[in-house]
C-alpha cells in the first residue's frame, strides 16, 4: 500500500531529497534581514527632511512636558514692566525674549504653555478618534452585512459635514472647555480612520491565514485580536500622526473663534486671534504663535509621511 510509486504513470520514483529542512545556511541567511529600528535609522540618515521633522516633534513633546522648567515667566501673570509707559505691549528684548502681549504677559512663556495645550488636545483627541474609528471600522468590516451598512451610513453622515463646522456646532451645544474641545474633535475625526480600517479588515478577513484560523476553531474575538489588529497597527500609527496635526489645527481654529480652550489659559489659536488686532503695532504677537503652529503642523505631517514610507501599510510585514 505504501510502497514507493512506480509504473508508467509516474515514470520513476519520487526523488527523496537530500536537503534537510532548515539547514544551517538557510537559518543564517534570514538573520541578516534588518529590523524595523535599523531601517528607521537608515532612512532618517538618508532623508534630512524626515530627520528634522521627527526631531521637531520630539523637541515639541519635550517642551510640552517640561514647560514649567523652560518657561522664563509665569504665563498667566501680567507684569508691570511688561507694558510701556503708554500701555502698549513691549517688543522682543532682553527681559521678554518674544515681547509681551497687551496684558503685559510674557509671549514666550505663553507659547511654551500653549504647546502643552496643543499637544494634549492633539494626542488625546486623536487617540480617542482612533479608538472609535478602529472599533467602528473593524466591526463593520469584519461583521459585514447589515451591521456594516448601518455603521458605514452613520460614518458617511458624520463625514459629510465639514469637520470644522461640525466641531463649532457641537461646541455651541456643549460649551467651550479643554475637555469638550478634545471630545468634539475626536467625534469629528474618527470617521476617516473608520473608513480606512473597514477597507483593510474587509481584505484581511479573506486572507488565507484568517480563514485558516477560523477553520481551526478560533473564536471571532481571538481572530480580531491576534490576526486582524496586528495588521492594522501601521495604518493606525500613520493616520494618527496625521490626525494629530489636523486636531492641533482644529483646536487652534476653535480657540481663534473664541470657543476653544477658555481664557486665561494660553493657546496658540487664541494668541493668534488676539495678535491680529495688534498686527500694525506689535507684529510679534501674531508671528510667534503663527510660526509655532505652522512648524508644528508641518513637522507632524512630514513625520507622518516618513512613517507611511517606513511602515507602508500595504506591504509592512507581508514582504514575501
Amino acid at each position: 500500500m505504501t510502497a514507493p510509486p512506480t509504473g508508467p504513470l509516474l515514470g520513476g520514483e519520487l526523488p527523496e531529497a537530500a536537503l534537510e529542512p532548515g539547514t544551517a545556511a538557510e537559518l543564517a541567511a534570514v538573520a541578516d534581514e534588518p529590523g524595523l529600528g535599523r531601517r528607521a535609522l537608515t532612512s532618517l540618515r538618508r532623508d534630512p527632511v524626515a530627520l528634522i521633522s521627527v526631531l521637531a516633534v520630539v523637541i515639541l513633546a519635550l517642551i510640552a512636558v517640561f514647560a514649567p522648567l523652560l518657561a522664563p515667566h509665569n504665563p498667566l501673570q501680567a507684569y508691570p514692566n511688561g507694558l510701556s509707559s503708554d500701555g502698549a505691549p513691549v517688543g522682543p528684548g532682553s527681559s521678554f525674549l518674544l515681547g509681551t502681549d497687551p496684558n503685559g504677559r510674557d509671549v514666550l512663556s505663553r507659547l511654551i504653555y500653549g504647546a502643552r495645550v496643543s499637544l494634549l488636545v492633539g494626542v488625546v483627541a486623536t487617540g480617542l478618534a482612533s479608538a472609535i474609528g478602529v472599533l467602528v471600522g473593524g466591526i463593520a468590516g469584519y461583521a459585514g452585512g447589515i451591521v456594516d451598512t448601518v455603521l458605514m451610513r452613520i460614518t458617511d453622515v458624520v463625514l459629510s459635514f465639514p469637520i470644522l463646522l461640525f466641531c463649532v456646532a457641537l461646541i455651541a451645544i456643549t460649551g467651550p472647555s479643554t475637555r469638550n474641545v478634545m471630545l468634539v474633535i475626536a467625534f469629528g475625526y474618527w470617521t476617516y480612520l473608520a473608513r480606512i480600517v473597514r477597507g483593510l479588515v474587509l481584505s484581511l478577513k479573506e486572507r488565507e491565514f484568517v480563514v485558516a484560523a477560523r477553520t481551526l476553531g478560533v473564536g471571532h474575538r481571538a481572530i480580531l485580536r491576534r490576526h486582524i489588529l496586528p495588521h492594522l497597527i501601521p495604518a493606525i500609527i500613520v493616520y494618527s500622526t496625521l490626525g494629530i496635526a489636523t486636531s492641533i489645527l482644529i483646536e487652534a481654529s476653535l480657540s481663534y473663534l473664541g470657543i476653544g480652550v477658555p481664557l486665561p489659559q494660553a493657546s496658540w489659536g487664541q494668541m493668534i486671534s488676539q495678535g491680529q488686532e495688534y498686527f500694525q503695532t506689535a507684529p510679534w504677537l501674531l508671528i510667534a504663535p503663527g510660526v509655532a503652529l505652522i512648524l508644528t503642523v508641518l513637522a507632524f505631517n512630514l513625520a507622518g509621511d516618513w512613517l507611511t514610507d517606513l511602515l507602508d501599510p500595504e506591504t509592512s510585514g507581508d514582504r514575501r
Partner: protein, 349 residues
C-alpha cells in the same frame, strides 16, 4: 445495451453508496449528495445560480486517503472548503464518524471544526506573517484547551513530528522556505488532533524534491495517528502515491469513483482516460502520444446539457446530449457516470 430508464431507476445516493468493505464502524467521513450552489449577482437585479458542486457522494474510511482529481473549475476545492465549512453546503449531508454535521452552527460548529482540518495550497498566505511559528502552532493548542504551561513542550513535539528544528519556533513565516511553511501548516492542523485532514493542493506550490518529503511526512503521520485524508490534486502521480481511493470530478459531479487500483489500472470514464493520457510519461518518452483532450472545461455557470462531458467526449452518442448519466458500477469494478461504458452485470443480493 444502456437503458436510460433502468439507469434512472438507480437513485444517486444508492448508486454512490460507500463501497467500504467494513460495515462495522461508520466511515470517518461520509458525504452524501453534497451540493454547493453560489448566487452570482449580475448588475442590480439579475442573479444566477452557479452549481459549483452538485450531488457529490463519497466516503473515507478511518486511516484512509481519498484522492480527488479534476481540472480547475471542477469544484474539487469547493468540496474541500465545504467540508471544513468555509463554504456552507446548499444541500446534502456530511457525516463525521456517523454524525450529521452539515447543519451545525455556532458553538457546535466550532467544536466540529477541530475534528476536520485543512492544509492549504499557498504556503505563503496560509500562515499569519506577523505571528511566530510557535504562536501559529500554539493557536491550535489553545483551541484544544492545552494549558499555557504545557504549550511550549507540545509545540516542540509537533515541530519534531513534522521534522522541523526547534530553533525555528521563534521565527516568522517570512523567514521560512515554502516546504518549511507547509510543514508548519501541517503541525498547526495536527495541534487540534483532527480525525480528518483535507489537503487542498497541499504540495502543488512546492518544488518536486520538497514535494516528496512532504508527501512522505503526510503518510508517516497517517500511519502514526490514523487520520484520514481527503487529498485534492490535479496531479495524478501524486494521487497514485497517496490515495487508497480515487474520485474524479468534472463540472461539479463525480464521473468516476473507485479504488486506486481500479481507477489507475482500468480507467472507465473517457474523461479519466484522457486525464491519464495527459500525464507525461518518462519511461516511454518519444513514444506515440495520445491525442489531447479537445476544448476547454465548460463554465460551471452554464454546463452543457445531458452529460457535461459530451462536447469533449470521443465516445459521445446522441443520448449523452440529453440525459445525464448516473454514477453506477461498471464492469471494471469502480463507479462511473457514462452511458457508453458497459455496466457491471446485475448481481442479485
Amino acid at each position: 445495451m444502456t437503458d436510460p430508464v433502468h439507469a434512472h431507476s438507480v437513485a444517486p445516493s444508492v448508486a454512490a453508496a460507500p463501497a467500504a468493505p467494513a460495515p462495522a464502524a461508520p466511515p470517518a467521513v461520509d458525504v452524501r449528495d453534497l451540493a454547493v450552489h453560489f448566487k452570482v449577482h449580475r448588475g442590480l437585479v439579475s442573479a444566477q445560480t452557479v452549481k459549483a458542486v452538485d450531488g457529490v457522494s463519497f466516503s473515507i474510511a478511518a486511516g484512509e486517503t481519498l484522492g480527488l482529481a479534476g481540472e480547475s473549475g471542477s469544484g474539487k476545492s469547493t468540496v474541500a472548503r465545504t467540508l471544513v465549512r468555509i463554504n456552507r453546503p446548499t444541500a446534502g449531508s456530511v457525516l463525521l464518524a456517523g454524525a450529521e454535521t452539515a447543519r451545525l452552527s455556532g458553538q457546535q460548529l466550532r467544536a466540529y471544526r477541530r475534528r476536520m482540518q485543512m492544509v492549504y495550497q499557498d504556503p505563503y498566505d496560509s500562515l499569519d506573517p506577523k505571528m511566530t511559528i510557535k504562536d501559529a502552532i500554539g493557536e491550535g493548542l489553545i483551541v484544544r484547551g492545552v494549558p499555557r504551561a504545557g504549550r511550549k513542550a507540545e509545540v516542540e513535539e509537533l515541530l519534531a513530528r513534522v521534522n522541523l528544528p526547534v530553533a525555528l519556533a521563534g521565527r516568522y513565516p517570512g523567514q521560512l522556505s515554502g516546504g518549511q511553511r507547509q510543514r508548519v501548516s501541517i503541525a498547526r492542523a495536527l495541534a487540534v488532533s483532527p480525525e480528518v485532514i483535507v489537503c487542498d493542493e497541499a504540495v502543488a506550490a512546492l518544488d518536486v524534491s520538497i514535494r516528496a518529503q512532504v508527501l512522505n511526512l503526510l503518510k508517516d503521520i497517517q500511519a502514526d495517528a490514523g487520520v484520514s485524508y481527503l487529498f485534492i490534486s490535479h496531479d495524478l502521480s501524486t494521487l497514485r502515491f497517496m490515495a487508497d481511493r480515487i474520485a474524479i470530478m468534472y463540472v461539479g459531479r463525480l464521473v468516476e469513483y473507485g479504488t486506486s487500483e481500479e481507477v489507475f489500472s482500468q480507467p472507465a470514464h473517457p474523461y479519466t482516460q484522457a486525464l491519464m493520457a495527459a500525464v507525461p510519461d518518462i519511461v516511454n518518452l518519444g513514444g506515440p502520444r495520445p491525442a489531447p483532450l479537445p476544448g476547454e472545461p465548460p463554465n460551471p455557470a452554464s454546463p452543457p446539457s445531458g452529460c457535461a462531458f459530451h462536447p469533449r467526449c470521443p465516445l459521445a452518442v446522441e443520448l449523452c446530449r440529453t440525459v445525464a448519466p448516473p454514477l453506477v458500477r461498471k464492469a471494471s469494478g469502480q463507479l462511473a457516470a457514462c452511458h457508453v461504458v458497459p455496466d457491471a452485470p446485475e448481481v442479485t443480493p
